[in-house]
């Protein structure tokens, strides 16, 4: 999945990676491309994971894990960081999802359950401000329920914000006309994919 996302990010892009599965995208940058990673806690030019023993507890990413800097990196405060995000300066953001609707609504911050501790972080700013929102997620929940729905039942992070969905079963593009399957995973056919998806899926007509 992470590799499929990485392939779709053009050379020279400024990229923000959400916490968890999205962080893995950085491991698959195709050769010859240079991407610049922004972490909303104040670093542009995030580098690789530090070697053991080299971690600095005050040089971390948005997931609060130790990182390093590339030559040409810079630090800044939170208001400047969200100037980048809200101001439309980040090209691509890769986020995880709890639910995605057929019109690109994203829910990824709260189940809305009464006893859940809601925690939103920067997700709402990212979906409002970044040019392209790519979602990376397991196609179904742990108990086998669809995550790609006609309508999200969880509280929204943003309405109509998702461009494409990368799952373990397929790559799906969110279009005005509906959800279009761009690529099927190995050993996955369209019918199987539709059975595991609540929202109706479409196939691109061959050119």
């Amino acid at each position: 999945m992470a590799q499929n996302v990485a392939v779709d990010i053009p050379d020279g892009s400024y990229v923000n990676l959400g916490i968890g599965m999205p962080e893995m995208v950085a491991d698959f940058v195709p050769e010859g491309r240079e991407l610049i990673y922004q972490t909303e806690n104040g670093l542009l030019g995030m580098g690789a994971v530090p070697m053991a023993g080299q971690e600095d507890p005050e040089l971390i990413n948005a997931g609060k894990k130790p990182v390093t800097t590339i030559p040409g990196a810079c630090f800044f405060h939170h208001a400047d960081s969200f100037t980048m995000i809200r101001g439309g300066h980040i090209d691509v953001c890769v986020l995880g999802a709890m639910q995605i609707s057929k019109n690109g609504d994203l829910a990824n911050w709260s189940t809305g359950a009464a006893n859940a501790i809601p925690a939103v972080g920067g997700a709402m700013d990212l979906v409002a401000g970044v040019k392209r929102i790519l979602v990376i997620t397991k196609h179904n929940t742990k108990d086998g329920k669809p995550k790609i729905l006609n309508q999200c039942s969880y509280p929204l992070t943003g309405k109509g914000v998702v461009e494409s969905i990368y799952t373990n079963l397929a790559i799906i593009d969110v279009k005005k006309e509906g959800l279009f399957v761009r690529k099927l995973g190995p050993n996955v056919d369209f019918e199987y994919l539709q059975q595991h998806t609540e929202a109706k899926l479409f196939q691109y007509t061959k050119l």
Binding site: E40, I85, N115, V120
Partner: protein, 237 residues
């Protein structure tokens, strides 16, 4: 002669009053002014409203302040983190209030508070429960929500270098909320890893101009929250 350095952590926090609104810098443990927070625990002020991105971890620092029932309300973007149990327990027991704010909105509200901007429009949270009850308005075909600037009575901030005027630099991603919180508080209280002579910090590289800072205390070997949590320590110890 202007000299904003004080002699002790206790002196730095002595004026904090019951019911105060306090901004506390940090994103996770990076930039969290643990020694100032512990001094505040010792000092005793209660019924506090705390503005901070997270709610601390383990039983030290901000989590310890909350555990001591000294915080009546948290304004933050991400109250649950690895090793954070104190806030979730009190929140589920109905013993602490939470105002959840998107991280960028939180940052902008703090900056606005410091910059004399009472309110601004932002696209973040439109069409979500966090915009509920707030004024929405369309500019150039896009919908925005009105958000208010936040000011605080005090801010507790961790920095790298400071001079007697209050000019500050920061270290790596420990910078995060520190510079904007210094602007938004009536009294900004800063712990610096090192206090240097005026003029040592190049005027081109000052991050927080001294005008935004009131009290400075040198804490040359600040604890890392993760170390204290790994040792399962509880403050007060």
């Amino acid at each position: 002669m202007i000299n904003k350095t004080v002699k002790s952590l206790a002196e730095a926090v002595q004026d904090i009053h019951d019911g105060a609104t306090i901004m506390i810098s940090g994103f996770g443990e990076a930039g969290s002014p643990i020694e100032l927070i512990h001094a505040l625990i010792d000092q005793g002020a209660k019924d506090l409203t705390v503005v901070s991105n997270n709610t601390g971890s383990g039983n030290v620092g901000l989590a310890a302040l909350i555990e001591q029932r000294r915080v009546k309300k948290m304004i933050c973007s991400f109250p649950r983190t690895a090793n954070s149990t104190v806030f979730p327990e009190l929140y589920n027991a109905g013993e602490i209030e939470l105002e959840l704010v998107p991280q960028g909105t939180l940052a902008e509200r703090i900056r606005a508070g410091g910059a004399g901007i009472p309110a601004f429009y932002t696209p973040a949270s439109v069409n979500t429960p966090l915009a509920k009850g707030k004024e929405c308005r369309v500019f150039d075909g896009i919908e925005y929500v009105l958000e208010r600037g936040i000011k605080a009575d005090f801010s507790l901030v961790k920095c790298e270098l400071a001079d007697r005027y209050g000019n500050l630099t920061y270290h790596a991603t420990a910078r995060n909320f520190g510079p904007i919180m210094c602007t938004a508080a009536t009294t900004s209280i800063v712990q610096a890893k090192k206090v240097v002579e005026a003029g040592v910090i190049d005027p081109e590289i000052v991050v927080t101009p001294g005008i935004f800072v009131n009290h400075i205390i040198e804490v040359s070997n600040p604890a890392h929250e993760s170390d204290l949590v790994a040792q399962k320590l509880t403050y007060p110890w």
